[in-house]
């Protein structure tokens, strides 16, 4: 096989694997979005609970507000990640199409010695490279956005832990406030674990 054919033979399964990986990332992001929605509802309940508890839970109320803002920010962030994932799916799909297209063109052109046919193939390969570069750019952007999301979730974890501390000052409401803050902490940890696994996805290990 020529070098170009060897490269094409490697690219096809890699693009297929990338597509599977990006689909899994998308599924994980969808589950994080669902959890983020749950935090929003939990934060609303926590705000009402803090209001009932009055001055004793003022600090808890402030943190609940912050957690509600956090859940909204997280949803926005996940929405942006979903957009990037869809862009990656588009690019990988196009690359899969390019690979088949180029294989067939190469076979056709190989039977001819006309230089103008080789030029058509060369133009196709330049276009393929452009698509590959676009995909590499999307992949880098997705990785950066995931890192940002992870940092945001770590901040959410700090808020949840602070809420746990504030709950202890809630006097007669200490038990329900503590219960709510533990739920926050658990949910934020769940998101953190999800994002942590996404950060280490083999999808980002591919150059």
């Amino acid at each position: 096989m020529t070098t170009a054919l060897v490269q094409a033979a490697h690219k096809a399964p890699q693009a297929g694997v990338d597509l599977m990986r990006i689909v899994r990332i998308n599924e994980e992001i969808k589950s994080v979005v669902n959890v983020a929605f749950k935090i929003n509802i939990m934060a609303l309940n926590a705000i009402f609970l803090a209001k009932r508890a009055g001055t004793a839970a003022r600090g808890f109320g402030v943190l609940s507000n912050e957690l509600r803002v956090f859940s909204q920010d997280l949803r926005d962030c996940m929405s942006s990640l979903s957009g990037l994932v869809h862009a990656c799916v588009d690019d990988v799909s196009r690359m899969l199409q390019d690979i088949r297209h180029t294989r067939l063109l190469r076979q056709a052109v190989a039977t001819s010695s006309k230089p103008e046919f080789a030029a058509v193939l060369a133009a196709r390969e330049i276009e393929n490279e452009r698509h590959a570069q676009s995909f590499a750019g999307q992949r880098r952007q997705l990785k950066r956005s995931l890192e940002d999301a992870f940092r945001m979730v770590e901040l959410g974890g700090v808020l949840a832990k602070s809420a746990k501390i504030e709950a202890a000052y809630g006097q007669s409401f200490a038990v329900p406030l503590s219960q709510v803050s533990s739920e926050f902490d658990g949910v934020v940890e769940e998101i953190r674990v999800s994002l942590e696994s996404l950060r280490h996805s083999a999808f980002f290990a591919t150059k």
């Binding site: 088949r100 297209h101 067939l104 063109l105 076979q107 056709a108 190989a110 039977t111 001819s112 006309k114 103008e116 046919f117 058509v120 133009a123 196709r124």
Partner: protein, 246 residues
């Protein structure tokens, strides 16, 4: 690689059949492509599926410059007729694709852009190939609901898409029908199952019986010539189609 056979020639007006690929994988249906040339330009009729593109391209380019293909004609929307469209466009992005208006929003999934497609109305149209008129003859529901054949009045050749098609066993795959009765057995099941309308079939038979045809060229199988053309039309007229067991 496929082979080319010139089945009509008058100066630079030619019909070239691109047929039979011994290397074709068995899971792909065999197809015939036909190149019509006139005045240095070419129109490829049912250019074929993407997977057979290398074989068709190689054969065609041995006879004709692929970048001089002015147009392709897709008799209908099936992948074996034109899923190679995007690949042909690589060699001439200005190439046009003539197709039934019914499929002009579907075939772009195989490639091309808004400028590529020229819709053919249901009643048919005259397509021009550098001054040569090729008539798009309606063949709707045979088998596709938007279906055309191409008639060249000068060459007296009818490209008949799936009508006349036969699934030939190995060893009986000559370019022309030699023994009609023997050959037609390989066409019968195909026509009964694929052709959906007796009414449409009757109209087509009436329509083409009025044309002067020396060769009837299907997309699969062998070419009918001489008296076999009328023999085929009569046979088809009698056949009950749109039948499936089960």
């Amino acid at each position: 690689m496929k082979t080319t056979r010139t089945i009509f020639q008058d100066g630079d007006h030619k019909w070239i059949a691109i047929v039979r690929d011994p290397d074709k994988p068995n899971h792909l249906i065999d197809t015939n492509e036909y190149l019509v040339t006139h005045g240095g330009q070419g129109m490829l009729l049912d250019p074929g599926g993407a997977e057979v593109f290398p074989a068709v391209f190689s054969a065609l380019s041995s006879e004709f410059d692929p970048s001089a293909l002015a147009a392709v004609f897709a008799s209908h929307q099936d992948p074996d007729t034109c899923s190679s469209l995007a690949l042909w466009l690589e060699f001439n992005p200005a190439m046009r694709c003539h197709v039934s208006w019914l499929w002009s929003g579907f075939i772009p999934h195989f490639g091309g852009n808004a400028d590529t497609f020229v819709s053919i109305p249901d009643e048919g149209a005259d397509l021009s190939l550098n001054g040569l008129t090729l008539r798009a003859v309606p063949a709707h529901y045979l088998h596709s609901s938007g279906n055309f054949h191409i008639y060249d009045k000068v060459a007296r050749v009818l490209f008949s898409g799936d009508v006349g098609a036969a699934l030939l066993p190995p060893g009986e795959d000559g370019l022309f029908v030699e023994h009609f009765d023997k050959h037609i057995r390989h066409a019968e099941g195909f026509h009964r199952r694929w052709m959906g309308s007796n009414e449409a079939k009757r109209r087509w038979c009436e329509r083409v019986a009025q044309l002067e045809i020396d060769m009837l060229c299907p997309q699969h199988g062998a070419i009918y010539q001489g008296e076999d053309v009328q023999r085929f039309i009569n046979w088809f007229d009698e056949l009950q189609v749109g039948i499936v067991n089960g």
